[in-house]
Amino acid sequence: MSSLTKIPAGVQYFFDDEVKLRRYVERRAMEVFAGWSYDEILLPMFDYHDLFARGMGEEKAERTYRFVDRDGALLALRPELTSLVARTVATRFKNKQRPLRICYSGEVFRYDEPTEKSAREFHQLGVEHIGQPVIVADIEILLIAAEVLTMLGLGDFRIALSHVDFFNGVVDYLKLDSAGRAQLRELIDRRNSLALSEFLTRVASHVEESRRQGFCRLTQIAGKDDAIAQAREILINERSRAAVEQIAEIYATLAGLGLKENFDIDLGDAGGLEYYTGLTFKVYVPEWGVELGSGGRYDNLIGNFGAPEPAIGFSFALDGLAGAISRRIPESNWRSAEATQNVKSDGDLVRIFDEARKLRVRDKKVKICEQ
């Protein structure tokens, strides 16, 4: 060890108020999950590396902290919790009645390049809903996310809804190879419509000009009913079309519940494509520059561990929630207000500890004070 003051990059220590806030956020979120009949699962800190590679793909599993078991098997600290849930569901819960509603709270560990500023250890709060196809479960999941945010005093949140087939349908339509697909994805993700237009002129000259222009507009389109109207106009391929109708139905339901303000449709989101199969969403709150949570439908994941079945889930970053809350919500909301009773020491050890224990029996908070 080079120095006792040095802390490895990306790890965190918390104490006192920071802990109280985090515990408060965790407790409120888990109460909401339980309120929607999600049962908590406790998962191991590490498992076989192969399990994560099977779940999230080799590339993501590369970012795990790995070590070798006594028998030589390769283990990894959990980089996410969904793969662990999926494997459990496909094996040990094979015969349990569907749908399954599972929630969790725990740290995950991911190795990032040392130059990158993101944490390597972070706490996730999430739910998985397994065995129910679109769209009832999708709406349920969105409402749970919304309730957690409202409950925590972040009622002005914005959840951006997207669907992987907005993108996949366009790739099919343009008949792109995998390199073209990767490039298109990068351009859409950066919302770079000029470069996208040049790219499409190059690779999709067989597609008529007006249609190409439409695809370029996709990167900029986010909004409410107007976004759906524009999506219907631009996305004429069958695969994207079905996705648009699915999102339109979800959105109409949310609107019917009076949540229109909080939800947006984003046609230019191309994240998480190797993993998600349907609805995807990201959670934002004002004055917090990065997403606080994300989720989506992943109907192919559980099939990697057994019989395929539909599933959807999301997770919040506890650090993000705590950070956003500490910026704007009075501490009194999450700090316990209970008064401490000081017990003064006068040399008579039996007397003072007797007094302290009597207070403890009445569940009072005590503090032994040296004179």
């Binding site: 914005r158 770079n192 004002p286 004055e287 520059g289 990065v290 997403e291």
Partner: protein, 220 residues
């Protein structure tokens, strides 16, 4: 509209690079109707407001613009593609603003121009762009040692600190006057409008209007 009428949730903060791009960027925004008073610009303040109060500007070092935007303390920013490539920041990049056009190039002393790299020896390269440099030489299969500098990179080959440099080249004059020449152009760079991912949704109307206004004035 006075600045008091703008709710904080609707005001856009724009991060601008100090130096090379600053004047061009301010002129571009002015053409789009986003004007900063002359008296403000001449002050030494780092945080300025547009006359209509819809925007505030922060002036930061070029390499810091993507950081301010990625973390959301600025909603949008203007920075060179060179800086973006180097930072790998997770931001949206909706517009090429066409200003600050330059090249990111490998350069060296005149006598090394045209010389092949000895594929077995490590080439020492001085640069402000370690990531771009490493990636370029890796694709060429040339082993390198990167010497990270934060300015006056042209000095490095003259003093024997490095064999080559990777740097921005605008007119080529600085290179020329120091006896250096461009060996290879890695990529072109122009200034980009970048947008924070959360602001894109939370201030969708304001960000959308800004992109539309700038797109309009950029039309040839």
């Amino acid at each position: 509209m006075s600045s008091n009428d703008i709710k904080p949730g609707h005001k856009l903060t724009i991060a601008l690079s100090k130096g090379r791009l600053q004047d061009d960027a301010i002129a571009l925004f002015a053409r789009a109707g986003i004007i900063v008073a002359e008296s403000e610009l001449n002050s030494r303040k780092l945080l300025l407001n547009s006359t209509d109060g819809r925007f505030s500007f922060v002036f930061v070092k070029p390499a810091d613009v993507p950081t301010y935007v990625e973390y959301g303390v600025a909603d949008v920013g203007v920075c060179g593609r060179d800086v973006l490539l180097e930072s790998q920041a997770g931001v949206h990049e909706p517009l090429d603003l066409g200003i600050g056009r330059c090249r990111i190039a490998v350069a060296g002393k005149r006598e090394v121009v045209g010389q092949d790299y000895n594929l077995l020896a490590t080439v020492r390269v001085a640069t402000k762009y370690p990531r771009i440099t490493t990636e370029y030489f890796h694709t060429k299969g040339v082993p390198i040692e990167v010497v990270s500098l934060s300015g006056s990179v042209e000095l490095a080959p003259l003093l024997g600190l490095s064999d080559r440099i990777v740097d921005l080249v605008e007119t080529g004059r600085t290179l020329n006057e120091n006896g250096l020449e461009v060996i290879d152009v890695i990529t072109e760079s122009t200034a980009r409008l970048i947008v924070n991912r959360a602001s894109f949704h939370l201030k969708r109307v304001e960000v959308g209007a800004l992109i539309a206004d700038l797109t309009e004035i950029l039309k040839p």
